[in-house]
Amino acid sequence: MAAVETTADVSHESALVALFAKVGASLPGASWLQPLRAEALNRVTREGLPHRRLEAWKYTDLRNKLAHGFDLASGKDVSDADVLDGLKGHRVRIVGGKVVGVPDDVPDGLEVISLAEALGMPSLWLRQWLQPTDEAVENLNLAFASDGVLVRVARGLAVKQPVIVRSTLSEAAMAHTRNVIVLEEGAELTLIELDDGAAPGQSFATTVTAISLEPGARLRHLRVTANEGASVVVRADTIEVGRDASYRGIVASSGAAVARQQASARLTAPGAAFARACAYAAGEGQHTDFTMRVTHEAPHTTSRIVSKGVAAGSGHGVVQGLVVVRSEAQKSDSHQLSRALLLTPHAEIDQKPELEIYADDVKCGHGASIGALDESQLFYLQQRGIPEAEARSMLVGAFLGEVTERLPEPYRAPVDAWLTARMTQVTAA
């Protein structure tokens, strides 16, 4: 066996190996899953946790952001009412990586069950979603995933109320969950996710979500990552969009020490469409990262990426969008736009749109801008009597509002209220 080069300091990874030796056997799953977990962890230790020499992690050194050694969360919950409290829907509650509540009154054709429960059944179809990959966070997550939610919408069913999944981590520990969302042919669903919690020390959460949209299926997706304090939260989505199916997502982050939302989308058949809009407010000590990779694998496929964000204090915002158009994906149509405001001199924004095009008849564009607040707008508001701090937060809110205005009510109001509260904190810093 060839020698594998690793980073000299392997304490992070060896702590994970030690933890796995201790708890691996007690993780849920049929016997077939254990070797897959071991292999996934093996890949993590071989390659190391993500660091900046990897292009997809160029601006987010996850390895350095993690303290050595975590225990798995026990599942205690100290959080209060959530920011999406008023919304009606089929609610799933995950605490410390364990599903503690699933809806029992779902319509025929909608299945919402816990992964741990599903793993206790001989469900072969799950296997394809639980394989080691070449992505470190996905592998780490597979090794330690304690639970998650499976949502399956039967062919042709348009689910009226949203499925709302709230995942809370309020312990200085780590939690890994894995979700699988399958919309069968022509099915429609609104999926809302809320990540929250503030731990008394550093916490680390990963969630890997596999989304499969069969022909003609439509998923509307809203995710608010609202963790606070020393939380490190990583979201990794893999999205497969089939013929004439569409994925439309709005994702927002603010509050955590590190919040990364990564997505890898494949448009596998003609008519497939992907759209994701990102909003972030990164204040003192906060790092937000949106990294997206969209692959157009078939002709007549569409993708849109929009991001708007602000950074203040030592806040750091990262947006990376890589669009790959394969040679067979003629007539693809892709656009991405990243705009950001730097509110203070030491804040940092990195925007990296990339295009890799192998087809010759496509429409692909991108734009990016970073600026400060407009002094003449600020003067105008102040001249009418609006105090400077309020004027700043109005302008920032209006800037980010271009993302949330894509949300229909009743979803927009609570998201706007949360963002406004976050921005007031961020801009006051």
Binding site: Y380, Q382, R384, G385, I386
Partner: protein
Amino acid sequence: MLDIKDLHVAVDGKKILKGLTLSLGEGEVHAIMGPNGSGKSTLSYVLAGRAGYEVTQGSVTFRGQNLLELNTEARAAAGIFLAMQYPVEIPGVTTINFLRTALNAQLKARGEPEVDAVKFLKRFKEEREKLQMSDEMVKRAVNVGFSGGEKKRNEVLQMAMLRPRLAILDETDSGLDIDALKVVSTGVNALRAPDRSLLVITHYQRLLDYIVPDRVHVLAAGRIAKSGGPELARELEARGYDEIVKAA
């Protein structure tokens, strides 16, 4: 109401106003006329408290207060309103929301209770209709997609809602056709009151046919070069600024 004494103002180190003295009484309407570059807009910005306008000498007293000590929003709350020459577009903020926030901020700064939402909307509708502005216009973002005339109407609408003690109209006539000029002037005249003074800054006499001033001042080379009654405006229109500028 407003007393400006020997005011010197520099912008980026360049002296623009060089000893301007002007006194405006309660309820009076004064016009400031002058050629381009004479310092008209500088005067309006320095009164409103815009950053970058450095007062190097002189004083400005507004209703017994040292105006230069107040920040921009405090001046607005004290009753100073600037109708801008180039009103700014603010995407994502609707006119109605903007105005309500501004009005309540001013009331709060003056220690008065916030305005009742129903009364505010009623008054807003009345003022909007006087200025022939559609409901759809004010539901849009502030000045976004407005024509030059619509922007100026929106300035007068804000003035009507905020009811300032001193309104400075900076080239409100620029970019207006004759119909829009009439609507805007009617709106401004409706706001003339014994407790409200107006400082009308303009390059042309035309506006002063509609908003008739008590006094006319000619600003040249950073100071008031000549003052007179309304007839001075017509004289300037006939003979131009050259003579006065040369004398200054």
